[in-house]
């Protein structure tokens, strides 16, 4: 019989066993299986793939060989952020998410997958404290998806179809939201204040209307600054009968006020900063939080795990809250959006992170980041022709470095930096042409003073070169 016999991954690839089982079902060979598939569409030749490695060792050595061509943010010094952040991942996070039980569980019930339900319920509860809201969902794909769903929820609640979004946001995130909201919703961009980067309230007031379902803004913004007028923006939304939807970086919430405290109705964000490795972008994971009101809860497309009593006094059990909202419920495509495999393991990981960090850890994290990024801005500003921060106002973690007066292109500077083992900030010249040659730098708790000093010296050299 054709096929790869006695393969370690396939117990029943043993020929004798196959014969025995085939006999049991009245067949003589594996080829007699797939009888229902018409010959015309069966492959005659088999597919054309490279010869498989003949041993686990060779496979491992091969893949390690390929991976060794990557240059990591561990051996190099990385200042890229822009939605994916290099934070320290406590050992417990990896320990737990590599536990085989969590790694290979999927869709079991609250009885046999009790730990999965509890861990995700706890994740919901922990993020809820961080954002000071009563409802948080099982994680969605990424922060962009979370934002897209959040504004769709707002549109369903308000029965309106325009969403105001900041011009100063990640262009890729904008594209994701745009595609996801099409064809039902229209996204309208609100300008930013050229001075301090903040949402242009005048433009906002101009664009808000009785068609506005939601005002979506971010804090800290994509360009890193802290949006000061959160409450005012929320008021403008509410005055117009719209909802205030805020995207937030959870790593900031030890020191920054959660959006719920300045009027947000729905909060979205990305969990990746909370104990999840960057994974070339594979660590993204979105969350959405609302108040515990039926009109909000019933608009979530995601699963929501709830705690419940069992038939034994004092025992906790878990289950799905309002399951029939979802596309897994009886209404299928008439449920809310759709649900499916998203990023649960990262949710569990974020839970481990928050439980490990505690309130003090989150405060210190925020504080250290504030200090180190301010230090970097200050030191970079000392370089002739470089402005450490293009905007006035205070930043969290990220800031726009202005290279316009150096006469060098960011692209060129970054190329030179790579040679020095440094990954410079994201080049903004394409998505934000109005900012000229500027780059979005990210500084977190992983950067030591020495690292920042090294960056400053390197940029100095690049600018001179």
């Amino acid at each position: 019989m054709k096929g790869y016999k006695s393969h370690p991954y396939i117990p029943n690839s043993v020929l004798e066993v196959q014969k025995e089982m085939l006999k049991e079902i009245g067949l003589n060979s594996l080829e007699e299986l797939h009888a229902e598939i018409p010959d015309e569409i069966k492959l005659k030749e088999g597919i054309n793939l490279p010869k498989p490695f003949q041993s686990e060792y060779e496979l491992k050595r091969h893949v390690e060989g390929i991976l060794s061509k990557n240059k990591t943010c561990k051996e190099n010094l990385n200042f890229l952020g822009a939605g994916c952040f290099q934070h320290y991942v406590p050992a417990l996070c990896d320990e737990i998410n590599s536990r085989g039980e969590f790694l290979t569980a999927y869709g079991g019930e609250p009885y046999n997958d009790f730990g999965r339900f509890q861990a995700l319920f706890e994740y919901q509860s922990l993020v809820a404290e961080l954002v000071d809201m009563d409802v948080v969902n099982v994680p969605t794909m990424d922060g962009a998806q979370a934002a897209a769903t959040a504004v769709r929820m707002a549109a369903r609640i308000t029965q309106r179809d325009e969403v105001l979004v900041p011009k100063a946001m990640d262009y890729e995130k904008f594209l994701i939201m745009k595609n996801y909201c099409a064809p039902d919703l229209t996204l309208i961009q609100v300008a930013y204040n050229k001075e301090n980067g903040q949402l242009d309230l005048e433009d906002l007031r101009k664009k808000v209307s009785e068609k506005t379902a939601a005002i979506f803004f971010e804090n800290p913004s994509f360009l890193g600054f802290i949006e000061e007028n959160g409450q005012e923006i929320s008021n403008i939304a509410h005055d117009a009968g719209a909802l205030s939807v805020v995207g937030v970086d959870p790593s900031s919430l030890g020191v920054l006020a959660p959006p719920s405290q300045y009027g947000a109705d729905i909060i979205s964000g990305d969990l990746q900063p909370l104990g999840i490795h960057m994974n070339y972008g594979g660590g993204q994971s979105g969350f959405i939080a609302t108040r515990d009101e039926e009109k909000f809860v019933m608009e979530f497309p995601s699963r929501l795990f709830g705690i419940a009593p069992t038939c034994v006094e004092g025992e906790y059990g878990f289950g799905d809250v309002a399951y029939d909202r979802t596309s897994f419920g009886h209404h299928r495509h008439e449920g809310k959006e759709y649900v499916g495999t998203q990023t649960a393991l990262w949710g569990i990981t974020a839970g481990v992170y928050l439980a490990t960090m505690g309130p003090k850890g989150m405060y210190e994290l925020g504080k250290t980041i504030m200090q180190k990024s301010q230090y970097a801005v200050k030191r970079l500003s000392e370089i002739k022709g470089v402005k450490g921060s293009l905007f006035t106002g205070v930043n969290f973690k990220e800031f726009v470095v202005d290279f316009n007066e150096t006469g060098k292109r960011v692209k060129e500077i970054n190329r030179l930096l790579i040679e020095k083992g440094i990954f410079g900030g994201k080049d903004l010249s394409k998505d934000f042409p109005e900012l000229g040659e500027s780059a979005l730098y990210c500084v977190t708790e992983v950067h030591t003073k020495e690292d920042i000093d090294k960056l400053v010296v390197a940029i100095q050299e690049c600018v001179k070169a």
């Binding site: 790869y4 991954y9 396939i10 029943n12 025995e20 089982m21 049991e24 797939h34 229902e36 069966k42 490695f53 491992k60 893949v63 390690e64 991976l67 990557n70 943010c73 939605g83 406590p90 417990l92 990896d94 320990e95 290979t104 999927y106 009885y111 009790f114 861990a119 706890e122 404290e129 409802v135 994680p139 794909m141 962009a144 099409a182 039902d184 802290i226 920054l256 006020a257 994974n279 972008g281 993204q284 038939c311 025992e315 059990g317 799905d320 309002a322 897994f328 299928r332 649900v339 481990v352 439980a355 490990t356 505690g358 980041i369 200090q371 230090y375 190329r415 790579i418 990954f423 003073k449």
Partner: protein, 505 residues
């Protein structure tokens, strides 16, 4: 373990991990950093996260993990349609190397040649396996892939200036719920085709449904029943005739690898769930990848970037997807690279012969299970009598329920007492008292026999001692949950803080 909720472990003053502080020189220069925060944005009260020492946090989650029935510890047959198969540990080791985990997605291409090579080659292999011409790994799950397919459908018709007129998408009731829900979200009217008496999608009904309004046909084949639509080529031909596109939900293509492909069946697009067909671990529900492939003609509508090779270097190609109608983007960055890496490693450990073996054994295991279960008096499976199923079967326990009053949900709870999964089905239950079982290629004959014996034991109980089933589970981690508050806004509690508020009033 009788483990508390994590907030109950909190003790004021305990720390789980210490966080780096700014160096003295930095403090000297910039101060405490936080004083600069605008007053309106200062957090006044610390978040009420628990304060727990490191060993206690660890113990908590170790215990929770032990209370989770992952594929690593149990015989996976009972999670039908989910294709829970063995995820090789060596692949996990590889994906956890810093050369994978410590990469920023915006690093310059010259610094990520390794992962780009892997993604590029996996694309090539996927093309071979499906017959499609180009894959994107951006969709990070099956549903997102379906949404992306619907987006491409929209883009395609827009480019052809037919978008307005084509507003219908056809699917079948035994395709995944997302095959309806995701296109519906993208603005399409959904038309469901029901099965004919043999369980095949009803061709006459289909003929009636296809028209100039048809934007696309999105379907799984085999469907959740394990029935393979033999006339699939007639279906796709008909759609093409009328100018629509054909999208193949191959989330679970486990029974077809190396046997038949999307291309031969006439599809323009398809996607594979790498965590199903290609063995990457399910992770309690992601992170995942819905690797989506299209024919050449549709390439230009895909979300950007695609990964390409210029003969020397791998690079992110933004040029191909430059149609003004292109989807743009469906997920940040470039998808879940470690999942692609694991799928790559899996393919490279099996090759063409191995993938063929996977499909054949998955189908063999399924039909063996099918045969054995059908021999049990109270078990039946509607449709295609006497014929083979592909990789799974949707059974019915209608007779058992009639005889004993025990319902499929009761059996489900009782199975957990034996450390096994058992899945009923997606809602609504078109098949009465359904159970969907899918053995994949991973269980051995002994495992399958053990699973069957356990079911038989429980069916016997149903006739002899139904009470033990109704009150199950008895030996599982927790007892029967009172779900009565789950749909009641006054009672449901989605977070601990909400639970505390509601349980004190």
């Amino acid at each position: 373990w009788d483990e508390p909720i994590i907030f109950e472990l909190s003790k004021r003053g305990e720390r789980g991990v210490l966080v780096p502080q700014a160096e003295d020189e930095i403090v000297d220069l910039v101060g405490d950093g936080v004083s600069k925060i605008p007053a309106s944005m200062v957090r006044k009260e610390a978040p009420k996260l628990p304060e727990i020492s490191q060993p206690r946090v660890l113990r908590h989650y170790m215990r929770l993990s032990q209370m989770t029935l992952g594929a690593d510890v149990n015989i996976e047959i009972g999670q039908g349609t989910c294709t829970v198969k063995y995820s090789p540990k060596v692949n996990e080791q590889l994906a956890r190397m810093p050369e994978m985990t410590e990469l920023h997605p915006l690093q310059h291409e010259s610094t990520v040649q390794g992962i780009l090579e892997i993604m590029y080659k996996t694309d090539l292999y996927m093309r071979e396996i499906s017959g499609m011409d180009r894959f994107t790994f951006q969709p990070s799950g099956g549903s997102q892939a379906i949404m992306t397919m619907a987006s491409v459908v929209r883009a395609y018709h827009k480019a052809n200036r037919e978008a307005d007129k084509r507003d219908e998408i056809i699917t079948t009731i035994y395709s995944h719920p997302s095959d309806a829900a995701a296109p519906a979200l993208m603005g399409y009217k959904i038309i469901y085709i029901h099965p004919d008496k043999d369980g095949y999608p009803d061709f006459e009904a289909f003929k009636a449904a296809v028209s100039e309004k048809t934007a696309a046909f999105i379907v799984a084949n085999p469907e959740d029943t394990g029935v393979y639509n033999k006339r699939i080529k007639e279906f796709t031909d008909l759609v093409h005739e009328k100018g629509g596109l054909c999208c193949y939900d191959q989330a679970n293509a486990n029974g077809l690898l190396g046997v038949t492909r999307a291309k031969e069946a006439g599809f323009d697009m398809c996607f594979f769930n790498l965590h199903k067909t290609f063995s990457t671990p399910h992770g309690c529900g992601g992170p995942a990848t819905g690797a989506m492939g299209v024919i050449k003609e549709l390439e230009k509508f895909l979300p950007a970037p695609l990964i390409d090779f210029d003969g020397e270097n791998y690079f992110l190609n933004y040029e191909i997807a430059n149609s003004p109608y292109a989807v743009g983007k469906v997920r940040l960055f470039n998808g879940v690279a470690p999942v692609v890496l694991k799928a790559y490693a899996w393919i490279m450990s099996l090759g063409a012969q191995g993938l063929y073996e996977v499909a054949k054994v998955a189908v063999l295991n399924n039909n063996y299970l099918f045969k054995k279960l059908m021999a049990i008096d109270c078990v039946d499976a509607p449709y295609t009598r006497g014929k083979q199923r592909v990789e799974q079967v949707r059974y019915t326990l209608e007779k058992l329920t009639k005889d004993t009053g025990i319902k499929t949900e009761d059996i489900q709870r009782r199975m957990m007492d034996f450390g096994m999964h058992y899945w009923t089905s997606h809602h609504p239950y078109y098949v009465p008292e359904p159970a969907t079982l899918e053995p994949t290629e991973t269980p051995s004959k002994e495992d399958i026999d053990e699973y069957i014996a356990t079911l038989e034991h429980i069916f016997k109980e149903a006739y002899e001692n139904p009470e033990i089933i109704k009150t199950a589970p008895h030996n599982s981690v927790c007892h029967r949950v009172d779900e009565s508050g789950m749909d009641d806004p006054k009672q449901w509690a989605i977070t601990w803080r909400s639970y505390l508020k509601k349980s004190t009033t």
